[in-house]
């Protein structure tokens, strides 16, 4: 069996007296392409933030590389959900990408030539090198999202956490970026939140449905039953690149 890079046991998390996650246990092997899906408000982003140490669980344990999350940061890459925050901030694409090279052990030091070359490489991979001096506020949402992906790549992580990384990017680039993730996955473990069923069928090695609890499917296959359980309503499943559609008539949805 491969090394476990992430293990979560009996995790519970409540937010303002509402149970967000209950008795969540799962593990992610080294080299996995672990896709998390589930309805809005089902706790996907919360689960990711718990794994990154941004939130503290009420009970249960989370170990990343065998350690408590905030202490393992140098080996972790992160692409946040693009919510269009702080878009007026005076910062260029290159400066954002360089943030991926920051770490606790190098506080107060200037960026090295290697840091710059990693940032350049990452920006080229997402096709944003020619926009490196563009202020973040002058970009479209999709371009900003690409820069966030570049920033995570610049970290050169062993595990990459991504929260809907292609939200807002055009379909052509989306295919390109998932091919990039597939290449990256040869040495980097990927944990990815997405609603895109096509992505799951093509790239996922493991699929997890999160809706307060978790259900993990190792085969990377998705069935209609799984989705209906995850989303709490009937879902039409059309695989390979075409997004799924939720049936107009909902019966007994939560």
């Amino acid at each position: 069996m491969k090394e476990l890079v992430l293990t979560v046991q009996d995790l519970c998390f409540t937010y303002q007296h509402a149970i967000v996650l209950k008795d969540v246990s799962f593990s992610v092997e080294q080299g996995d392409f672990f896709v998390v899906l589930g309805p809005n408000g089902g706790g996907k982003t919360t689960l990711l933030k718990l794994c990154l140490g941004m939130l503290k669980p009420d009970s249960g344990t989370i170990k990343v590389f065998g350690q408590d999350p905030p202490n393992t940061s140098r080996r972790i890459g992160y692409v946040p959900q693009n919510t269009g925050f702080n878009v007026t901030f005076p910062i260029s694409a290159l400066e954002v990408t360089l943030m991926g090279r920051l770490s606790r052990s190098r506080l107060g030091r200037i960026y090295s030539a290697y840091d710059y070359s990693m940032a350049e490489d990452a920006l080229k991979k997402v096709g944003m090198w020619q926009h490196r001096f563009t202020p973040i506020g002058h970009m479209s949402g999709g371009q900003r999202q690409r820069v966030f992906i570049a920033r995570a790549l610049a970290t050169d992580p062993e595990i990459l956490f991504m929260d809907e990384p292609t939200a807002g990017v055009d379909p052509e680039f989306e295919t390109h970026i998932y091919e990039l993730f597939r290449q990256l996955n040869e040495r980097v473990t990927i944990v990815l939140i997405t609603h895109d069923i096509g992505v799951i069928s093509q790239y996922a090695k493991t699929v997890a449905c999160v809706n307060r609890t978790i259900e993990v499917h190792r085969e990377g296959q998705i069935t209609k039953g799984m989705l209906e359980k995850a989303y709490g309503c009937p879902v039409e499943l059309v695989a390979h690149g075409i997004p799924h559609r939720v049936y107009p008539v909902h019966k007994g949805g939560h």
Partner: protein, 278 residues
């Protein structure tokens, strides 16, 4: 203006104005991009409680006020660090409580007749050499801290969550920023008074923000704007016998609106000309 420079108090005022403008340009930029303008106003007003305590117990107001303002800033920081967007009510309360404490203590002090107006509206013309050395020392410390941790300050200001994930001690830097802000506020009180501090911290960076796209550029430009505003304000104050602090802020305020109006006109003419292009 030149004959004014024969007076030592005027030379001191110009040096003090320049020092405070640089401090406010650098710290104010961080205050503005971190949306801490209201919190800074709270520190400035609550600092009056420190002045009251110092006067009542007979301490030297300078250091005591700095300590008190930093303590208030840390309390505000502890409240805001959990939930930055819902802390305004607590800041508002501390703002008023500190002020009230100062007013009560000052009124209880027997035989007290320190110039209250000097603290409220500034007294740049009474700045002495020791004040100037304090300002220079603070300037050096703040510039060193910001230069050394420039990229970390960018990271925590732009995307605090990502900074946390890569291992930056976000809370520590937040408190360092609050400490710098409270020290900046205390020295700025000497120049424009506690009521007007918020203007010198926020106006120069807000103008600079429209003309630059880097944090460092914003700090540099805000400092230069601040120096320009204090020199102009002192000139008006000297020639027309106006209160110096208020004169400086009026110049800054006029420049702020002029800049915003010019930009608005500029944008309109750009958008209308591009309409003809296509």
């Amino acid at each position: 203006m030149w004959q004014a420079l024969h007076f030592e108090f005027m030379r001191n005022a110009l040096i003090a104005g320049t020092m405070v403008s640089i401090i406010c340009g650098v710290v104010g930029t961080l205050v503005v991009v971190n949306r801490l303008v209201f919190l800074s106003g709270g520190i400035a007003h609550a600092a009056y409680g420190g002045i009251g305590l110092a006067v009542y117990f007979g301490f030297s107001p300078g250091f005591f006020t700095a300590g008190f303002a930093s303590a208030v800033a840390f309390v505000m920081g502890a409240i805001t660090v959990k939930d930055k967007h819902r802390a305004d009510a607590a800041i508002g309360a501390l703002w008023a409580i500190g002020m009230a404490l100062g007013i009560i203590l000052v009124s209880l002090t027997p035989g007290y007749n320190v110039d209250l107006m000097g603290y409220l509206f500034g007294s740049i013309l009474t700045v002495v050499k020791s004040d100037i050395w304090m300002m220079i020392a603070l300037n050096v410390v703040i510039l060193l801290v910001v230069l050394l941790f420039y990229k970390e300050f960018i990271a925590i200001s732009y995307d605090e969550e990502f900074a946390f994930v890569v291992g930056i001690p976000v809370t520590l830097f937040y408190f360092i920023l609050l400490l710098m802000t409270s020290l900046a506020v205390v020295v700025t009180i000497k120049v424009v008074g506690l009521i007007l501090v918020i203007a010198l911290l926020s106006i120069p960076p807000s103008i600079a923000e429209d003309y630059t796209h880097s944090l460092g550029g914003m700090m540099l430009m805000a400092s230069l704007f601040g120096i320009f505003f204090t020199v102009c304000g002192l000139y008006l104050s000297f020639n027309y016998n106006l209160p110096s602090g208020a004169a400086i802020i009026m110049v800054a305020g006029a420049a702020f609106f002029l800049s915003k109006i010019l930009r608005w006109i500029g944008r309109r003419s750009v958008s209308s000309s591009s309409m003809y292009d296509t």
